[in-house]
């Protein structure tokens, strides 16, 4: 664990410039994307906005609540234009009290509405976590099934850039440990649209973990994904890249970094299989197990602290399962450093995994480096 953190700090963070042919179609230098120009493309922000709009059109009961979501269009503009389209009754600005609007939304869900509760960041949702964990997640069970709580808690999660420790924590493992919650951590625009629509339609409380650094990133959208009926199943991972030599599991921003690492590995003839988790709870352990049985090696990447994390959970489930017998190397967790996220830009960069680090660790799992 501490080794990972130390490695991360020493990893050369800002050195790479070359791009592989697969990503040659990236457009301008500043617009990082995964879109080729012949397809529909959408930024993560627009995909989230489209999902919200479509679901609000489909179901009167859906409404958005949070700080600055209406007139200001949201701190990150995810709710842009929605107040104009649906009015103040369905896009509700609130005073700055996380426990207040999370509590109000939870009560409204108990009473039959379908709130989408936006937190400016999940770091601030800590002031409302009792409503999420003790009320939203547990009441269906504790009421013997009579009080349902169909609600989405959404907002950016994990490290952003240059905003220090109190804005930079990843809560996937926190919420992922709670029975009664579903937890989603999407990466691409397609993930965001399909999973947010699924989350809004789900009869359970869903914690929807976005990433600030992905909001402006463009992704290709299939014709299917552009449709109003496009819904992705919660609880299913996606194999973003098939491979046979090493399995790299990641969620959110770390999927991008894992794909970059896979490119590097490909140059050395290593075929990495990159799995985009999409859901944290329920966790699609079957997909990971099947991949491990094929590759015999497992690396788990996350932008979180190492201890008690998503990586730890996946590692535990794999070694407890029949997939353990297929492992030819120890499971590797590649995580953020075990320190509160520092502000200084060089320190911050070194506190989180990047592609060179993932590449290095994947090779170690293949005994190709140490």
């Amino acid at each position: 664990m501490s080794t990972r953190a130390a490695l991360s700090r020493f990893a050369p963070a800002i050195t790479r410039a070359r791009r592989a042919p697969a990503f040659a179609a990236r457009r301008a230098a500043f617009v990082r994307g995964y879109a080729s120009q012949s397809e529909h493309t959408l930024t993560v922000r627009d995909a989230l906005n489209a999902a919200l709009e479509e679901e609000m059109l489909r179901d009167e009961k859906v409404f958005i609540i949070g700080e600055e979501v209406a007139r200001y269009n949201g701190a990150y503009k995810v709710t842009k234009g929605l107040m104009d389209k649906f009015g103040e009754k369905r896009v509700v600005d609130t005073p700055i009290t996380e426990m207040g609007f999370a509590g109000l939304a939870t009560g409204a869900a108990f009473a039959g509405l379908r709130p989408v509760c936006e937190f400016m960041t999940f770091n601030f949702a800590m002031q409302a976590i009792d409503q999420i964990v003790n009320s939203a997640a547990k009441t269906l069970y504790m009421s013997g099934g009579f009080l349902t709580c169909p609600i989405v808690f959404r907002g950016p999660n994990g490290a952003a850039a240059g905003v220090a420790a109190q804005h930079s924590q990843d809560y996937a493992a926190w919420y992922g440990s709670i029975p009664g919650l579903k937890v989603v951590s999407p990466w691409s625009a397609e993930d965001c649209k399909g999973l947010l629509k699924a989350a809004i339609r789900d009869p359970n409380p869903v914690v929807f973990l976005e990433n600030e650094m992905l909001y402006g990133v463009s992704f290709p959208m299939s014709q299917e994904a552009m449709s109003d009926d496009f819904v992705l199943p919660i609880g299913k991972a996606k194999i973003e890249l098939e491979g046979s030599d090493v399995t790299i599991v990641a969620h959110s921003l770390m999927v991008a970094r894992s794909l970059e690492a896979a490119e590097e590995l490909a140059k050395e003839g290593i075929k990495a299989e990159v799995i985009n988790l999409r859901s944290i709870r329920p966790l699609d352990i079957e997909t990971i197990k099947n991949s491990v049985k094929k590759t015999n090696r497992l690396c788990i990447v996350e932008g979180s602290f190492p201890a008690f994390g998503v990586g730890s959970e996946i590692c535990a489930q794999i070694v407890e399962s029949e997939a353990f017998d297929y492992l030819d190397a120890p499971v590797e967790r590649i995580t953020g450093a075990d320190v509160p996220t520092p502000y200084a830009i060089n320190l911050e960069a070194r506190a989180f995994p990047d592609a060179p680090l993932i590449t290095k660790v994947a090779k170690r799992a293949l005994y190709r480096t140490n």
Binding site: I14, R16, F30, V31, R32, R71, Y76, K77, K89, V92, T94, P95, T97, M99, G100, G103, L104, A105, T106, G107, A108, A109, F110, A111, G112, L113, T121, N123, F124, D130, N134, S135, T139, L140, Y141, M142, S143, G144, G145, F146, L147, A160, A161, G162, V163, H167, P179, G180, P203, E212, M213, Y215, G216, V217, G235, R281, P282, E348, D354, A355
Partner: protein, 459 residues
């Protein structure tokens, strides 16, 4: 690398999530934010109608003259209406008798359940001693389909709505007939959709902002708008939680018909009210949130009735939060986990019971009108004791819920694999050991179905 990702965000002028509060607030309706129409002699403030003074003047009272907020009362300590007080017309003989009977029932249930808990048959119980008038007076003033969010000492409100002794006992024992939670929630944490009573939640005060949300939903529903309100009960201790302030703030800024009923019973477990706040109780906070507020004698069932009835009318007519602070006294211990004589003298409790007994006050009122007699009182108590004991015995003898209940209602909709896996694992273990290992054999017999439903499921 990181820079390349970061730049687009900055380029698009995306606000970092820092708490930099903008100085200009969003204008909303309400006196605090209305711009003054004409300049006063000394000028105006940009977003307030506050008159400008040249004299230095502090204040520390919402009454203006520095006195405490008064308490509304209808009946004196011997059950006689105060001069000028209105005895509600709709409370005739039948209604008054029903209210009194409901009040008397509570301590009879309490007596039995408290002792039963002490015998180790229940994990937990909370008595209602002393708060009978607050509970029944408010329950009677509400519509039975107003949505109630209780704290945990509101059994009287639920029973007023038709929740039976059998329901109450089955829920307390968490047996197979438990109508509230199917054995998954602890005693006294009732809830019933049929009775518009939300599930009680143990973390204190979470129900308060939730009530504002329930009222928000009521306001959105054309069939209930202007007809119902959400009613939230809480103690003066719970009003120290941030959730209380959040709930008050939200019911006023995102206006919704939320009726706040503070049961100020003098104690939050062991902490006396005078250590809970330094200001003038809970009522003083109402105007701070722009809310109509009243303080009422919580041991006077008619005063509580009148106050809550009018509060409810205001709440629904204006579609806004209203606060009622009922001043009462918790005669019993906080819960069965508490012995209150460690922090208050027994004599004080005895004095309160004798001098200001909500049951005695109302009984004297009834007797003065010829609506009640000592004989009827004896007969009522004997009948209730018998009914309570019978319901208790019946509930105690019923088996616990089916074992499969453990894994049910964690999620609505499709069941995640984790639950299926756990249930199947337990099923396998039961098949292997359930019939042969004595401790499991004994335990299984306590459950309805003896775990057969799990053993029979195919993996």
């Amino acid at each position: 690398m990181l820079r390349a990702v970061r730049l687009p965000c900055r380029a698009q002028n995306i606000t970092a999530p820092c708490r930099v509060r903008r100085i200009t607030s969003t204008p909303t309706a309400g006196p605090a934010n209305s711009f003054p129409k004409e300049p006063t002699a000394h000028g105006v403030l940009p977003s307030s109608q506050s008159p400008i003074l040249s004299t230095l003047k502090f204040f520390n009272s919402v009454t203006g003259d520095g006195t405490q907020i008064p308490t509304y009362r209808v009946l004196d300590s011997v059950g006689q209406p105060l001069e000028g007080a209105t005895v509600p017309e709709e409370i005739g003989e039948a209604m008054a008798r029903r209210m009194y009977e409901s009040m008397v029932q509570l301590p009879i249930i309490d007596n039995l359940m408290y002792n039963v808990q002490r015998q180790g048959k229940l994990a937990f119980y909370m008595t209602h001693y002393g708060e009978e008038a607050t509970l029944i007076g408010s329950a009677a003033a509400l519509a039975n389909d107003d949505e109630v969010l209780g704290q945990y000492r509101e059994l009287g409100v639920l029973m007023w709505r038709g929740f039976t002794l059998a329901d109450m006992m089955n829920s307390s024992f968490g047996n197979c007939e438990d109508p509230c939670s199917r054995g998954k929630q602890m005693p006294m944490h009732f809830g019933s959709r049929k009775h518009h009573f939300h599930m009680i939640s143990s973390p204190l005060a979470t129900q308060i902002p939730q009530a504002a949300g329930v009222a928000f939903a009521l306001r959105r529903d054309p069939s209930r708008r202007g007809k119902n309100c959400a009613v939230v009960y809480f103690g003066e201790g719970a009003a120290s939680e941030g959730d209380f302030h959040a709930g008050m703030l939200f019911a006023s800024t995102i206006p919704s018909p939320t009726l706040f009923i503070a049961r100020n019973n003098g104690f939050a477990i062991s902490t006396p009210a005078n250590e809970q706040y330094y200001g003038d109780g809970i009522a003083a906070r109402g105007p701070g949130y722009g809310m109509h507020t009243i303080r009422v004698d919580g041991n006077d069932v008619l005063a509580v009735y009148n106050a809550v009835k009018e509060a409810r009318r205001l709440c629904i007519d204006e579609g806004r939060g209203v606060l009622v602070e009922a001043m009462t006294y918790r005669v019993g211990h906080h819960s069965t986990s508490d012995d209150s004589f460690a922090y208050r003298p027994r004599q004080e409790v005895e004095d309160r019971k004798r001098l200001d007994n909500p049951l005695a006050r109302f009984r004297l009122f009834l007797e003065a009108r010829g609506w009640w007699s000592a004989e009827e009182d004896d007969a009522l108590r004997a009948r209730l004791k018998d009914e309570v004991l019978k319901a208790f015995k019946k509930a105690e003898a019923l088996p616990k819920p089916e074992l499969r209940e453990m894994f049910e209602q964690v999620y609505g909709g499709e069941e995640p694999w984790t639950l299926r896996e756990q249930r199947e694992e337990l099923g396998r273990l039961l098949k292997k050991y359930g019939d042969v290992w004595e401790p499991w054999k004994t335990e299984l017999k306590k459950h309805k179905g003896a775990g057969k439903e799990l053993m029979d499921t195919k993996p």
